[in-house]
């Protein structure tokens, strides 16, 4: 083995590297915790953990200033595997250490896995209502629905990213091009009658001209309300059909009138901005929502949703009770009781996390490993003491 390779190997198997990386990870986590006040938990994950470098913007130029989660975690992972391969000896004395680190490897893999694969949606269902889709927390889409056939809706959805890009979109199902004019992640919505001096609206049709949409900074606070909006022009072969203002306000806050229009071919359409939807091959009906507080207080005691879960083919049709700490796991998804809205509306969180079982295994491995390891230490310590005590007594 030549010197360079040995140096290389020594670097990757060294405990010094482990300590340095662990130290870096503490600084990274600490900084991310502090920054949550400004950015909120979602953006912090993107900026600090799901990245190779933490970037700092000097003016407009992003400069890497610190290794990110992928970098530190990845190196730690390599270090861990390399050290074990290099020093691996199957002895009892090392069994605990080996198990513990195997657990850590699984945990790191699990975290990477869920970081890449996890999807989080929510479902807001009123009593008696049936829903077969979940909605995203943070992504929006523009839905253009052909409502001509009263029995059937034909929907074309355009994700937020395309709206932000601004390039015109042509789709075989639409007899017009969709030209995104502007997308705002948060606006203040005011009535034009209240703000007569506001500049004229880019919108020419629908409710848009009656409102003033002022873009404001995105609010990262956990329970803040952000109102996304987009100006969208629809351009037919014979010329423009008009520019619409589309906004999404949660229905429990306020209902905006639906915006409909028709095209010369006799079709009627609806245009709306809404949270990204994930349709499911089954539907949930909220049968009963219950919610108790402790007598004389506002402290919630419990809340639970009695749900009917049914597939269109009738293969599955049963009732389940979802409550705190007792989710429903079905078809790779987990439905959690996450909140409520008034006395008759439940909010379920819908999560796909294919790696969910890894932490459980990791936890057992690490716990057993550490107990074994420290147990060996402890019995060694007591044996030595006893050995030392016997000659002293004699």
């Amino acid at each position: 083995m030549n010197a360079t390779v040995r140096q290389f190997r020594d670097f990757f198997v060294s405990l010094r590297l482990t300590v340095v990386l662990l130290g870096l990870s503490i600084i990274l986590i600490f900084a991310a915790t502090l920054d949550q006040v400004n950015l909120g938990v979602w953006a912090v994950q993107q900026k600090y953990f799901q990245t190779f470098f933490v970037l700092w913007k000097f003016g407009e130029v992003p400069v890497p200033i610190f290794p990110g989660g992928y970098f530190v975690g990845g190196l730690l992972f390599v270090n861990l595997i390399a050290a074990h391969v290099y020093r691996f000896k199957l002895t009892w004395r090392k069994a605990g250490i080996f198990l513990t680190h195997l657990g850590v490897i699984l945990l790191l893999l699990g975290e990477l896995f869920s970081g890449l694969m996890q999807e989080e949606y929510n479902m807001r269902i009123e009593e008696g209502e049936t829903k077969n889709y979940a909605e995203s927390y943070q992504f929006y889409e523009l839905a253009i629905t052909d409502t001509t056939d009263p029995k059937f809706d034909d929907v074309v959805v355009i994700p937020k990213e395309l709206l932000e890009k601004g390039a015109a979109i042509q789709h075989p199902k639409l007899p017009f091009r969709v030209v995104p004019k502007a997308f705002f992640s948060n606006i203040n919505l005011g009535r034009r009658s209240d703000e007569p001096t506001a500049p004229p609206s880019p919108a020419t049709t629908g409710f848009g001209p009656n409102f003033v949409a002022t873009p404001i900074a995105f609010n990262y606070k956990p329970d803040a309300l952000n109102i996304p909006a987009a100006y969208v022009e629809l351009a037919g072969p014979e010329g423009t059909l008009g520019t619409w203002l589309t906004v999404y306000i949660p229905p429990q806050m306020m209902t905006m009138p639906p915006q409909t229009f028709s095209t010369p071919d006799g079709h009627t359409w609806k245009i709306a901005l809404r949270p990204q939807r994930a349709y499911k091959p089954y539907a949930l009906t909220l049968l009963k929502f219950s919610h108790d507080v402790y007598a004389g207080t506002d402290i919630p005691k419990n809340f639970s949703s009695r749900i009917r879960l049914a597939t269109p083919d009738g293969r599955d049709d049963h009732e389940v009770l979802i409550y705190m700490n007792n989710p429903l796991r079905y078809a790779g998804l987990t439905f959690f009781q996450s909140g409520y809205d008034g006395d008759h509306t439940t909010v379920l969180q819908v999560v796909r996390n294919p790696g969910w079982v890894l932490p459980y295994i990791a936890c057992i491995l690490m716990a057993v490993g550490l107990v074994v390891q420290f147990g060996i230490h402890l019995t060694g310590f007591f044996r030595k003491r006893r050995a030392a005590a016997v000659p002293a007594a004699a």
Binding site: S14, L15, T33, V41, N353, C363, F374
Partner: protein, 653 residues
């Protein structure tokens, strides 16, 4: 004598704790102990009036004693007596100085409330007290004022409150915080006064009794009036007048003292006297519990002890029929309040610490045993206290920040007892005394924000996870702190005394290493269990939320210590410095993250706690710097270092 000293100390400590088992007794003819044991529903929990009295006093004025600094004896004999005055004789209670306004926190608030220097200055009668005040042993200015003193300026306070209220809690000035705190205190006080009978009405009982007689006719008159038929105008007017009074009681009442009717659907829904009396308009019969309390008020004001005691007994007997288990718990809680096991532990821990420290200089065997016994008794008292709280609440030991402080201390002291039993060198006792004392003081500070036995919010309502994740992760805090405190002992003894010989230094090193191992186990398993709980509740294992991050940082820090030691990167002193830094890491996770203000409110103690946290962190950094003094500056190693070069000395000690 020296031989029997440990035994004497043990007996004295046992006697001191045993004293708390003597039931509290009444100081005069009134059965205030019995009164304090009567259960009421507040904040969703059934608790004795004694608890209401104590927690209210803590919220209002930061202590349970009602006293004037210039008068040597307290103004009331017990918190229950103060509460009786607030509930039944408001005019008297209005004169007690029970509202804390600190001129050091916010001088503007003192002037807003129109308190002149004359009112705040304390002039002591005797010369010795004046001397004490000069030396700052006694306060020079008053910090507690009576309702009567504050009343004239309440309209001003109200204005300032409305200005301060919309400001985000995290950015409020001390004045704004003071305004809000005082306003809330006044609201609490006035709600307490409206809890059982209308304040300021001298003859509520006879009004109720005469209402009882005319009730059927009166209800008839109101019905007739509503139906537009002829009715007795005078009677209807009377009925509505009294009714309005009941409505007022119902709106402001703080206590739910009236148990639900036998046929009520929800047997946990106690009501207040106001709404119970209003129900009488439907049933035609006034609620007997409300009548009993009205009569109690009457007899309290008229100093009729026998009748008062009889009414307390009546109320108990009535509850005994259907609420015997609740009554038993509320009795036990009142006894628990009076016994103050944590207060007694605090005192014993302090003594234990001093004895253990002295034992390193003199009489190691004898004083070491004494310290050990003191720690043992204090630990038993704390254990009994925690066990009682668990039984009262029906929960695992840690349910909120307050109980986490109790448990951190308890766990660390438990480990210390094991260490001391193995090594018998006073180090375990000293660490136990220090950690036990500090954690109980922190717990006391946290108790100032109100009742420490709270109902659990829905998401936390799971004994499985409270018993596993929370207990294990709190044990992780406890052991990380303990390792840090043991390291402090190493550094202090090494730098400032000659008592750190090679044997002691090696022993301490083994102790710290062992505890760090234990801390790694607990914090790692506890954190991962927390992740699994989150997976069960919210569907995600890890969310990078501040509390999770804090726990993770503790795990990683402990892992760093173990790896650095395994790789030979640190020796004894390095291990000690890293363990001390563990104190900073743990205090950050325990309290620091709560101060970020992300979705969490900051209350009075938390603001003060921020500065204490800062002081603590700085002190630990100073100690780490101290530990890095060259070895020849360490008193214990000086002689060694002068003989040999410093480098080899480090390797050998």
């Amino acid at each position: 004598m020296k031989k029997f000293l440990p035994l004497l100390v043990l007996l004295a400590a046992l006697a001191y704790v045993g004293m708390s088992l003597v039931p509290p007794h009444n100081t005069d003819d009134f059965d205030l102990v019995g009164f304090g044991r009567l259960p009421v529903l507040v904040n969703g929990r059934i608790k004795p009036l004694d608890t209401v009295a104590r927690t209210s006093l803590l919220i209002l004025q930061g202590r349970q004693r009602v006293a004037d600094p210039t008068i040597p004896t307290p103004m009331v004999a017990s918190p229950a007596e103060w509460l009786a005055d607030v509930l039944f004789a408001p005019a008297k209670a209005d004169a007690y100085p029970t509202f804390r306004i600190s001129s050091t926190d916010s001088p503007e608030l003192v002037s807003l409330m129109g308190l002149t220097d004359e009112q705040t200055k304390i002039s002591y009668d005797n010369a010795s007290s004046r001397m004490m005040a000069m030396a700052d042993f006694l306060p020079k200015t008053r910090s507690r004022f009576s309702f009567n003193q504050l009343a004239p300026k309440i309209p001003e306070l109200d204005k300032q409150y409305k200005l301060a209220q919309p400001v985000d809690a995290a950015v409020r000035t001390p004045f704004q915080k003071g305004v809000i705190q005082l306003y809330d205190s006044l609201v609490l006080y006035q709600r307490l006064q409206h809890s059982l009978v209308p304040p300021g009405e001298d003859d509520f009982l006879s009004r109720l009794l005469s209402l009882q007689k005319t009730l059927p006719a009166g209800v008839e008159a109101i019905r007739a009036k509503q139906a537009g038929q002829p009715y007795d105008e005078e009677l209807a007017k009377q009925m509505l007048e009294v009714g309005n009074e009941f409505v007022l009681l119902d709106q402001y009442s703080y206590l739910r003292a009236v148990p639900p009717a036998a046929d009520a659907k929800d047997q946990t829904a106690w009501s207040n006297t106001g709404s119970a009396l209003l129900d009488g308009y439907g049933t035609g019969r006034l609620n007997p519990t409300a009548l009993t309390y009205a009569a109690m008020a009457q007899t309290w004001r008229a100093h009729q002890a026998d009748q008062f005691n009889h009414l307390v007994g009546l109320q108990r007997d009535d509850l005994q029929k259907r609420f015997a288990p609740q009554l038993a718990k509320s009795d036990a809680e009142a006894r628990f309040n009076a016994a103050e096991p944590f207060y007694r532990s605090t005192i014993l821990y302090a003594f234990a610490f001093f004895l253990a420290v002295i034992s390193w200089l003199k009489w190691p065997e004898t004083l070491g045993r004494c310290a050990f016994y003191l720690v043992l008794v204090a630990f038993l008292a704390a254990t009994a206290g925690i066990a009682t709280r668990m039984w009262l609440e029906g929960r695992p030991p840690v349910t909120n920040l307050y109980s986490s402080a109790l448990f951190v201390g308890w766990g660390a002291v438990g480990l210390c007892l094991i260490l001391e039993q193995i090594h018998r060198n006073g180090i375990g006792s000293a660490a136990a005394g220090m950690v036990g004392f500090i954690t109980l003081i922190i717990a006391h500070m946290l108790s100032l924000s109100g009742d420490t036995l709270e109902m659990m919010r829905a998401v936390l309502d799971t004994n499985l996870w409270l018993a596993t994740h929370v207990v294990v992760v709190t044990s992780g805090y406890a052991s990380t702190f303990l390792a840090g405190f043991l390291a402090l002992i190493y550094i202090f003894r090494g730098v400032f005394t000659r008592s750190l010989d090679k044997l002691t230094a090696d022993t301490l090193t083994r102790m710290v290493y062992g505890i760090v191992c234990f801390a790694t186990l607990c914090s790692l398993v506890g954190t991962v269990l927390g992740g699994i709980w989150a997976d069960q509740s919210w569907g995600r294992f890890w969310g990078w939320d501040p509390k999770e991050n804090g726990a993770l940082i503790i795990v990683i820090w402990n892992a760093i210590i173990l790896h650095a030691r395994a790789g030979g990167m640190i020796k004894q002193r390095g291990l000690m410095c890293m363990a001390v830094f563990g104190n900073i890491v743990t205090s950050w996770s325990w309290f620091g993250v709560n101060m970020l203000g992300i979705g969490l409110h900051s209350y009075g103690f938390m603001d003060a706690a921020f500065w204490w946290l800062l002081v603590f962190v700085i002190s630990q950094i100073v100690i780490i710097v101290l530990a890095n003094l060259p070895l020849e500056k360490w008193r214990s190693f000086r002689s060694v270092a002068t003989v040999r070069p410093a480098g080899t000395a480090a390797a050998r000690v």
